[in-house]
């Protein structure tokens, strides 16, 4: 993700809508993707609305962003994304996900065995299975996992966004990956115990 050039950022901070349009274009993809992955497939119809709301909030708060403090713009932006998405999940009263959920594989829709995951990784069923498995992660784990694996943020940045230490972030990502490996195990095996 490319940070904006200084001049555009300053204009956007001053309320210039043309500069803010550039800002939106620079961040719309990562923010839209992250919102989609954080709020889950259950709210897929509202992802665009949530993304718009995030950008509106960002525009209002942009004058308060101080590049001199050493905070990266991307970290600051994703902090807003995190807070807003967590607020959405809280408002909708989504049930807390137990770490046992999906352990037996029954809660995750599994594509038919005839489909080899290597051949049809982009098939809709597999996409849904992954979305479901990621959606079962506790939200802090999900946030760290999504920002690291899909947006490529550094551990230090994720730690800043999550307001915790880098060690904690590494631990959360590790746990998330282990949980996903268990939950997606049946996607990986064509036959019991063997990889396709």
């Amino acid at each position: 993700m490319d940070d904006l050039d200084f001049q555009t950022l300053e204009l956007a901070r001053a309320g210039d809508l043309d500069a803010y349009r550039e800002f939106v274009r620079a961040y719309e993809r990562p923010i839209h993707h992250t919102v989609f992955r954080l709020v889950g497939s259950r709210f897929s119809a509202e992802v665009e609305d949530i993304t718009q709301d995030v950008f509106i909030k960002l525009f209002r708060a942009l004058p308060q962003f101080d590049p001199g403090r050493g905070t990266k713009l991307s970290s600051w932006v994703f902090t807003f994304v995190k807070n807003y998405c967590f607020d959405v999940l809280k408002r909708r009263r989504l049930p807390m996900i137990s770490i046992d959920a999906g352990e037996d594989g029954a809660t995750i829709p599994i594509p038919s065995r005839s489909q080899g995951p290597r051949d049809e990784l982009s098939s809709r069923e597999i996409q849904e299975a992954i979305a479901r498995a990621v959606g079962l992660l506790p939200r802090e784990q999900r946030l760290a996992f999504v920002l690291r694996e899909y947006e490529g943020l550094a551990y230090a940045e994720i730690a800043e966004i999550s307001q915790c230490s880098e060690g904690t972030i590494k631990s959360r990502i590790h746990r998330a990956k282990e949980a996903l490996r268990f939950r997606l195990r049946r996607l990986l095996f064509d036959t019991e115990g063997e990889l396709p």
Partner: protein, 273 residues
């Protein structure tokens, strides 16, 4: 729960797989699961060994972000590991660090230890294969791209708010803006000084003498009132009308109708010309 009064509720037994899944989040388990976890570790030797290894690995992970050692003070074990010497990682340590290893996030010296273990351990190589495949699966998850017009829609939503903010700012500038402020301040100072001056004059009982009062004083009459002195009621100086020639009835009353043809008699009577 106090150690003297152990929780009497029964604890559901934990399988080795479930133990393995929870081993990295053991500190965050709820009390009931924590008891099941500990009971399993007490009774299962391989899992107890795994727990020990994971605790060791966690200690290593915590050292990742320790301050960089001064030159020449690098741990000999780290140097040896980087050279491919020294002890290799155990199976538990390898399994616990495979995700970071596959993601390229493991410190080079730890990665070297794991690599050397993988060369000689078939079981851990299988595990590595599974980890690589699982990563491939979740990386295949595609999020939909935002619609083309998203930026325009957002800017369109912002325009009214921006206009309102601009209006507010303009109104503020009008009242408190850079140009208006000195004018307003000057007007306020002027008004204050004027009021102050009036107040001081009243307090001293003086002031400028107006033409009406001056005329009264010149005529030797007592003024009706003056500042700071009790008011005295005095008869007004009223001119007496002299009867025009040929008329003997001097009167104070005035009626132009009495003296027809004597236009201007009132003015002459009052002002003498």
């Amino acid at each position: 729960m106090s150690a003297d009064f152990p929780d009497p509720r029964p604890v559901a037994p934990l399988s080795c797989d479930a133990f393995r899944e929870r081993v990295h989040e053991r500190d965050e388990l709820p009390a009931s699961e924590r008891r099941a976890f500990e009971r399993h570790a007490d009774g299962c030797r391989p899992c107890a060994r795994l727990l020990l290894e994971v605790e060791r690995l966690d200690d290593l992970l915590l050292q990742w972000h320790a301050p960089a050692p001064a030159a020449g003070a690098i741990d000999d074990k780290i140097v040896a590991a980087l050279r491919g010497e020294g002890p290799t990682a155990s199976c538990a340590e390898t399994n616990a660090s495979l995700h970071h290893f596959v993601g390229g996030d493991l410190e080079p010296w730890l990665a070297a230890r794991v690599e050397r273990h993988l060369v000689r351990c078939d079981s851990c190589r299988d595990h590595l294969d599974e980890v690589q495949h699982s990563r491939k699966v979740w990386l295949a998850w595609r999020a939909p791209d935002p619609p083309e017009a998203l930026a325009e829609r957002i800017v369109r939503r912002l325009e009214p708010a921006t206009r309102a903010a601009r209006r507010r700012r303009r109104a503020f500038d009008l009242v408190f803006g850079a140009v208006a402020v000195p004018r307003v301040a000057a007007a306020l100072v002027l008004t204050s000084l004027t009021l102050l001056a009036i107040g001081v004059m009243r307090a001293r009982g003086g002031g400028t003498v107006g033409p009406a009062q001056q005329r009264i004083e010149e005529n030797g009459d007592t003024p009706i009132f003056s500042y700071g002195q009790p008011t005295t009621i005095v008869p007004l100086h009223t001119p007496r009308f002299e009867a025009p020639a040929g008329r003997s009835d001097a009167t104070d009353s005035f009626s132009p109708a009495l003296w027809p043809g004597e236009k201007g008699s009132l003015r002459r009577a009052m002002h003498g010309h």
